[in-house]
């Protein structure tokens, strides 16, 4: 084909071929470098999406967390006692004699979910003391406390030295779990 062309045509063809080659090479390069950026961006977006999906899936957890656990902001003993609220379970305690024994960070498989367990005792006793009119009331009250997410304890001693006496329970290692205010979101 080239042989059939005259000289000037050959020049024109050569020029256009050169231009086409330059454009092709340049276009290829541009395309590649831009596509690299695009891929990077897409990966970031994918990660973000995955994160968001997990985050959204875990969103109810966050709500539940906030609902189940009270905030630990500026709590005095009375406020702490009111959060334990033995009365709500039909039990009677003594707020005046309550002391904080220790405070531990909550850990879950090596990660801190952002909460502390405040262990309380009644002064002079090995645990937190509550009473109720009957054995039945006492054990039911303990069951109500046990079912709460923000209450932890390990053992219970129930005692009534006489038949007509109101039974007393010593809750060993009673802890109220309070979430960190800062850790939210």
């Amino acid at each position: 084909m080239v042989k059939l062309l005259r000289e000037s045509d050959r020049w024109a063809l050569l020029c256009s071929l050169t231009l086409a080659a330059i454009l092709a090479l340049n276009g290829q390069k541009m395309h590649e470098s831009v596509m690299q950026i695009v891929n990077k961006q897409q990966k970031i977006t994918d990660n973000l999406r995955r994160w968001l999906a997990s985050y959204k899936a875990l969103q109810p957890i966050d709500i539940e967390w906030t609902k189940q656990l009270k905030s630990s902001v500026s709590l005095d003993l009375l406020a702490t006692y009111r959060i334990i609220a033995p009365e709500a379970a039909g039990l009677t305690g003594n707020a005046d004699l309550m002391l904080v024994d220790k405070i531990d960070r909550i850990k879950q498989a090596g990660t801190e979910p952002g909460a502390s367990a405040v262990t309380v005792v009644t002064a002079g006793k090995p645990g937190f003391v509550v009473t109720a009119p009957t054995w039945h009331d006492l054990i039911n009250g303990l069951a109500v406390l046990a079912a709460r997410r923000d209450i932890q304890f390990q053992a219970v001693t129930i005692e009534a030295s006489r038949d007509n006496e109101a039974p007393t329970a010593i809750i060993h290692g009673l802890a109220i779990v309070l979430r960190d205010e800062e850790a939210k979101k």
């Binding site: 086409a20 950026i37 985050y55 875990l58 219970v156 001693t157 290692g173």
Partner: protein, 390 residues
């Protein structure tokens, strides 16, 4: 005359060139550096005269300026040029573009300081076509074509005489010049003053492209390169555009995805997972209380037995109380003694009953006999412990 003809044959031009005036001439072209189209294949007309050939046989070429002062010439001051279609078709087979001899004559004429009548055209053994170009002050002012018999005809001289007399009358005092491919004319009396410039107009090559008409004209010749240029630009635009588009859409996706997210942090997920684990963890304290309830209820169901104390811990807890390591609850219970019989014997059936009621293996740790100081009633106080199976 013979000498002159001989000289014409031997005195070859420096560059090899060939003049063609018919399609047949073109076919006989061999390895010439340059082929010039001249003679009857070319039709010339000063625009002011308005003469035109039959357009179905000729293809018009771009008009030529009639002097080197293009800028000062009037627009209509041009030389219109046509080339016969036969010639154009035939010359398409040539390796190189043929040129028009007229461009060489014009260029030469523009440079002449003296007023000049240039005789050119083409001659062969069939006829002599004279093209007479008149330059005044380097400007073409007159064009005339004359068709004569070939030189070997007897009446050639009279025809030449006739052709030149008009010109010499009209343009008195003009230098008379003849150039290739017309040979020297000064052997004829009417043209004895005619100066032969031979190949002088062809020493510098003037490049003007030919218009081949629509069929294979400029536009179609450059169609392929033009198409390639356009196609490559379009392809480039498409490639880069596509990449750019992808980039934009990736950015847009990211922006829409990140909307409302304040803190994109992997550790946040871990914390949330930990919270989920915490909230979902089994609370052994519930079982502990249930066990306490079950045991208390069970013991209360046994006749005459009163529970004084119950201590219970969860399965994992190692803490507190006076329990053996393999027990997780302890009970202090009392029964009133019926008689003075040995306490142990009275306790045995009660313990069995308790074991059955609590569904646990019980072990008695100690027993005491206590006498109530008011009523004098004796009671057996038993301490035992066991393991729930929950």
């Amino acid at each position: 005359m013979k000498e002159i003809l001989k000289k014409l044959r031997t005195d070859k031009p420096r560059r090899s060139m060939q003049f063609v005036s018919t399609a047949d001439d073109v076919l006989s072209v061999q390895n010439a550096d340059t082929v010039y189209i001249c003679g009857q294949a070319v039709f010339l007309s000063l625009a002011s005269t308005g003469q035109t050939p039959h357009t179905d046989q000729y293809i018009e070429q771009p008009p030529r300026p009639i002097s080197s002062r293009i800028l000062t010439d009037k627009k209509e001051d041009v030389l219109r040029v046509w080339v016969s279609k036969d010639m154009l078709e035939a010359s398409e087979h040539l390796k190189r573009h043929p040129k028009l001899a007229i461009d060489q004559y014009l260029h030469w004429g523009f440079k002449q300081k003296t007023d000049t009548v240039l005789i050119c055209g083409n001659e062969n053994d069939k006829n002599t076509d004279l093209e007479i170009l008149v330059f005044r002050g380097g400007k073409l002012i007159h064009v005339q074509e004359r068709s004569l018999h070939p030189r070997n005809y007897r009446d050639f001289q009279s025809q030449l005489d006739l052709a030149l007399s008009d010109i010499t009358n009209d343009f008195r005092g003009f230098a008379l010049v003849v150039a290739l491919p017309i040979g020297p004319l000064n052997e004829y009396p009417c043209a004895r003053l005619c100066q032969n410039v031979d190949d002088e107009p062809f020493r510098r090559q003037i490049n003007v492209s030919l218009n081949y008409g629509k069929r294979s004209g400029q536009t179609t010749r450059f169609l392929l390169p033009a198409f390639m240029v356009v196609a490559s630009i379009v392809a480039y635009g498409a490639t880069v555009g596509y990449a750019w588009n992808s980039y934009n859409s990736a950015i847009t996706e990211y922006r829409s995805a990140i909307q409302g997210v304040q803190n994109f942090d992997e550790s946040m997920l871990k914390v949330l997972e930990a919270r989920r684990a915490f909230l979902g963890a089994e609370q052994s304290q519930i079982q502990t209380v249930n066990n306490a309830k079950r045991i208390a209820t069970a013991i209360a169901g046994v006749d005459r037995v009163h529970v004084r104390k119950l201590f219970i811990k969860d399965a994992n807890s190692t803490s507190i109380m006076e329990l053996s390591p393999d027990s997780d609850f302890g009970v202090v219970a009392e029964i009133p003694l019926e008689s003075d019989a040995a306490g142990l014997e009275q306790a045995r059936p009660v313990l069995d009953q308790l074991a059955a009621a609590t569904e646990s293996k019980l072990r008695e740790i100690r027993q005491d006999v206590v006498t109530d100081q008011k009523s004098g009633q004796k009671r057996l106080v038993m301490t035992f412990e066991g393991k729930t199976h929950g």
